[in-house]
Every structure is written in C-alpha cells, then in structure tokens.
C-alpha cells in the first residue's frame, strides 16, 4: 500500500542519498489527515508500523480541547490572514507553532493490548531526537520547560530552553483497528520570538490558550556548533533523524508484534550502536537501551 502521507520531494539536497526517505512540506491539514489515514491503515493491519519524518508549512496546531474553546473560531480567522493558518490534531497538550524550519516525526504502531506504558513510548520517541541533536554538537535532555508552548514532562530542552515537544494519541480498541501515534515537533531553524508571538496573538483573542515566553524556546540553528555539510539544516536534520529513528525506534515498534517496513540491518549499518552511549546517559537509559536491543519494553 502506498504511503498515505504525501512524499512530494521538496527538492532539497538534504533528501539525496536516503533510499525511501522523504521530506515534505505539505499543507498542515493535508499532513495531519495523511498521518491519520496512515495510522488507521496501521491499526487495521493494512500498513506496517513505521516512523515518518516530514516538514510542514507555517501553521498553528491546536488540540481538540482547544478547538472547542468559545473564542477559537474568532481567533482562527485573523491568524490565518496573518500567515498562521490553524489546524487541529488528535494528541494532547496545547498549542504548537510549526513551519518549514521545524521537523515533525511520528512513530505509528497498532495499539497494544496491555503492558506498554505511555512513558516507554515517550522514551522511544525522544531517543532518536536526542541522538540526532547530539550529532550537531548540542546536548539536550528530557525536561519540562514551564514557560514554553505546549509544555510537558517530556519536553526536550537545551539548557532550559525547549527545542522539541512530544505528544501521543491512543485511538480505538487494541486488536480491532486501534493505533498509537507518538509525534514530536523539533525546532530546527525558526525564530523562537516569531513562534511565541503567533501563539500569544492567538491567546490574546481566545481565552484558554496558554501564553508562552520566547526566552523559553530555542532552535537547533541557534545552538549548533557543528552545522553539517552545508545543506539546509532542517533537511540535514530530517535525514539524520529518520535514519536514527529507524535504528532505535524500529525495535520498539517491531516488538509490539508487527514487522516494520524499514529494514533494520540497513539502518544499523548506517548508524553504529555508538549511539547507545548517549542512551545510557538518559534517565531510564537502561529501559531505552533494552528497547534498542529488541527486548520487550
């Protein structure tokens, strides 16, 4: 079955050399709809579990709870007019600003019957992000960043500033079409002040949307000392993230009873297990490292 998630090649040099990889910049609603369709197909056994990495155009993405706020529609129209169209996602948390300078990643697998905790899924998703960030010479950690947007226990932070946010959606019944989407947005090359200003502008109109501070947010472009091979940073990050995620998160998805579409040997050759050193420095590293080795979570 072809990937429902659109894979139009953005043409960036960063996509070269990644067999089967894709970096896309579709409409945000199109991307979220495609992700939902893919997840339903995974839940129904029509599509293998997998990791998806993509980019999107500029948008504000809200939760369903926020979309039910009385002022939501009133705020959405002027924001769209000012270059920030609004979309709604199924996972929890709060408002999130995305753009071509952010990279999205989703781990999608059939909903397990039991024995899998939300925490283990968060760690499985955070691990490749932390490893990939470290490849640019930046040390990140899992830590809540209180004044950032969409703040949560599993924020990824660089010296107290949020660089990535994670969220999950566990949908439907296990064994009968249910699925899990664990998704993250990583800020690679966006201006934190612009991201914060967009969310705060919406919050000024719509009560119930949390305001945030630009000082609590950062981007890899601001932190990285090793900028890679000269191609644009979001493309570089996307390619590296997908390869790392395939090597680390593949075992997690495969251990839930289905085989991933990604060949683990191909990606383990591309990414030596030296990344495990980083895993052991992460809280609950023993658990995450066992996930990489393919042991049950």
């Amino acid at each position: 079955m072809a990937d429902p998630l659109p894979r139009a090649n953005h043409g960036g040099a960063g996509t070269a050399g990644v067999a089967g990889g894709y970096v896309t910049v579709p409409d945000t609603d199109q991307a979220l709809d495609g992700l939902d369709r893919t997840a339903r197909a995974v839940g129904n056994g029509e599509h293998q579990p997998g990791i998806f990495v993509w980019r999107m155009r500029r948008a504000l993405v809200f939760t369903r709870r926020e979309a039910r706020l009385p002022g939501f529609a009133r705020a959405a129209s002027p924001m769209a007019s000012s270059g920030w169209p609004v979309s709604v996602r199924g996972s929890g948390g709060g408002a999130c600003a995305v753009g071509p300078g952010t990279v999205q990643i989703a781990l999608v697998f059939p909903r397990p019957r039991d024995g899998v905790s939300l925490d283990s899924v968060y760690h499985a998703l955070a691990t490749p992000i932390l490893i990939t960030i470290s490849e640019f010479g930046v040390k990140a950690e899992i830590a809540r960043v209180p004044r950032s947007f969409c703040s949560g226990r599993y924020d990824i932070a660089v010296e107290g500033r949020k660089i990535a946010g994670l969220a999950q959606q566990w949908h439907g019944p296990a064994g009968r079409g249910g699925y899990v989407i664990a998704a993250a947005s990583v800020i690679i090359d966006e201006d934190p002040a612009e991201l914060a200003a967009a969310i705060n502008s919406f919050a000024d109109i719509c009560d119930g949307v949390q305001r945030c501070s630009a000082g609590a947010i950062t981007a890899l472009a601001r932190e990285a000392r090793e900028m890679g091979n000269g191609t644009d940073l979001p493309s570089q990050f996307s390619v590296r993230l997908r390869n790392t995620a395939a090597a680390t998160s593949f075992s997690f998805a495969a251990g839930l009873g289905r085989q991933s579409q990604i060949d683990p040997d191909q990606h383990r050759r591309a990414h030596p297990v030296s990344g495990l050193r980083t895993l052991r420095n992460i809280r609950s590293g023993r658990q995450v490292a066992s996930i990489v080795r393919g042991e049950p979570a």
């Binding site: 929890g92 905790s117 969409c150 949560g152 999950q168 959606q169 949908h171 019944p173």
Partner: protein, 80 residues
C-alpha cells in the same frame, strides 16, 4: 456487570501524578456497544481512548474533568 478501568500500568505516577477524564462519548445510563470508545482521558499530553469491554448500560463513576490514576474505576457497564 463489567468495569471500565484505567490500565494499571499505563503511566508512572512518579513521573506524572495524574490524568483527567477529558470527555465521555456516551451519556450516563446510555446504551453502549462492546468495543465502542466511551471516553477519552488526557495524561501528560497523551489523549487515550477508553473502550467499553461489554455491551450494556453505561454508569459513569468519574465524570468529565475528574482526576484519574492508573487503575481508577471510571465507569461500569450494567446488563440491560
């Protein structure tokens, strides 16, 4: 009678103290089919569907916006 409970090991309360019932999709005392998504809880930026284990009449124990922990009984399915 069947119980609707939050899975015992769903999250580590040392990391995240509690969750909340975000929504009930059926009314109290309403008829619910087996396997239907009856509620949604929110825990640490995760939306988690709760599925009815049996068909029957729903009795809501923890209402919308109520606090939940792993193992919390949030509802029951009664015969009829």
């Amino acid at each position: 009678m069947a119980e609707i409970r939050i899975p015992d090991d769903l999250w580590d309360t040392a990391e995240v103290p509690e969750g909340v019932v975000a929504n009930w999709f059926f009314a109290d005392r309403g008829q619910v089919p087996k396997g239907a998504t009856v509620a949604e809880i929110t825990v640490e930026k995760t939306s988690f569907d709760i599925v009815s284990p049996e068909s029957g009449r729903l009795r809501i124990v923890v209402p919308k916006d109520g606090i939940v922990l792993p193992g919390t009984l949030i509802g029951q399915i009664e015969d009829g």
